[in-house]
Amino acid sequence: MKDDLSPVKIEFVNFGVSYRSEKAGSPPLSALENVALKVYDKRILSVIGPSRSGKTSLLRSINRLNDLHASFEHSGEIFIDGAPVYGGADTDVTELRRKAGMVFARPVVLPLSIYENIAYGPRLMGRSSKSELDATVETALKDAYLWEEVKDRLGSPAAALSGGQRQRLCIARVLGMRSGIIMLDEPTSALDPVSTAKIEETLTALKNKYCVILVTNNVKQAARVGDETAFFLMGKLIEYGDTAKIFTTPRDERTENYITGRFG
């Protein structure tokens, strides 16, 4: 299913997520249950499933963005490069978020110039020499296939870009941080087909260097882009394996029903 050379980058061990209910006495809302999953380096993992299946909770648990919700609770553990994400009091959450960059469904650009949007992350990490930043910005934009479109107006506000360009800028921003992991939460759900194709092209090119997790509502996109695919339903990991295999001979009936469009 994968070549044995690519090491495990992220491992979920009996991982669960629940959100405490607002009302006292009522049971917590379970979003993920007992997930056991390995994500390999230099591969793309597609995560599919209907809404409320726990896909987004899965992503936001990796970089602990879920910590922002007061009601968030977890069980089990996630390991990145063998190091626990939740256990160990000395986990540096900020450092963790730098390691696992995230791209959201709605392209969120900071209210800064195109250049500054990418330079923001590296600056936070203390890489701030002009020549180094220039190089980082250029490489990131080139890797995100955005360089040709914006190279003459790096100083103009990022908010002026089109939706598709903004999303590629968000990807470039993550690349600029040299995160080992790139997580994308339905990155093309708000984009037109042409922009979507460009993003998919970008992702395929990136997997040589990164561990990519793509959460998507678009089953065909998962099939096009993913090396491995994981199918979630109601917070449970139903099936996980080689993308070609999942899409041709799924083991579970629910997987088959979902990918053939019978529900979801």
Partner: protein
């Protein structure tokens, strides 16, 4: 013929009430200008606003000292209140827990409900003697006035900038945090810039309040007709000039007070227009 129903009658009544309130405002504006403009024309607009002497008995009307006084006090109040208000709103909007927010926010808004004469009274009994004894001058001063006004405009600036900060989409915060920003870095680089126009508008509205305040200013500012050169100098503002002299003014003196009102009106109008333009630009 169109049927007259209860619906249309209620609509008409509401329209009339709405129009009458706007009409009252309009009439007040017309009245101020009608009363004030003749003196301005007689003195000459430039002479009126740059004149150093205000001698109503000899019909010499120059309001530069009061314009300077109003702006000095406004600037002082901003220096006092803007840093506090900004820190306060950022803390409340970004860092405070639920309980803290529920206690502190109403407490700050309560400050706006204290009558200005009470502020003035505290200023006269506590602040003025303190300045006289420990800093210098006779106590009635730009400094004392700025401190009191600074506290008075605190709720305005705090609550409007708080609203501006809360209106920044969560996605901005998450976007910055996901890039490895700390809480403070996310606030500094993503949230505050996104809310900046709202914050600027809040400051401008605060300036409008400071310039328009009268009672507390009369009690603390000392009301001397000089252009203040030091924070310890006493001053008279445009508002206090009107309030102090309206009791006995008549004829062209009375008109000159209205003319002072015209200048005040224009300043505050300009500040409000500026604030609403900045807010509108942010919405777009």
């Amino acid at each position: 013929m169109k049927k007259i129903t209860g619906e249309t009658i209620i609509g008409k009544i509401l329209l009339m009430i709405a129009l009458s309130s706007i009409g009252a405002l309009f009439l007040i504006t017309v009245f101020i200008f009608a009363e004030g403009l003749p003196v301005i024309f007689k003195t000459g607009f430039a002479a009126f606003i740059t004149g150093m002497k205000w001698k109503p008995t000899r019909e010499i009307f120059g309001i530069l000292p009061m314009i300077a006084g109003s702006f000095a006090i406004m600037a002082g109040a901003m220096i006092v209140s803007v840093p506090f208000a900004l820190c306060c709103s950022i803390y409340l909007a970004e860092f405070a827990g639920d309980l803290m927010r529920r206690v502190v926010k109403p407490a700050i808004e309560l400050l706006a409900g204290i009558p200005s004469v009470v502020y003035g009274f505290i200023g006269v009994t506590v602040l003025v003697p303190f300045i006289k004894n420990y800093i210098g001058g006779n106590g009635f001063s730009v400094l004392g006035c700025s401190l009191v006004l600074g506290v008075m405009v605190l709720p305005t600036i705090t609550s409007i900038s708080y609203d501006a900060l809360r209106a920044v989409p969560v996605s901005y915060r998450e976007g910055a945090l996901a890039l490895g920003a700390t809480r403070w870095q996310a606030v500094k680089m993503a949230v505050v810039p996104a809310a900046s126009s709202g914050i600027i508008a809040a400051v401008i509205l605060g300036m409008g309040r400071a310039i328009g305040e009268t009672m507390a200013v009369i009690m603390i500012a000392g009301n001397s007709l000089i252009v203040p050169l030091s924070p310890l100098d006493p001053v008279r503002t445009l508002t206090s000039n009107i309030a102090l002299e309206m009791g006995y003014a008549s004829g062209s003196h009375r008109q000159a007070l209205f003319a002072t009102g015209v200048v005040l009106f224009i300043i505050i109008m300009a500040l409000n227009v500026l604030a609403s333009r900045i807010i509108n630009r942010a919405v777009k």
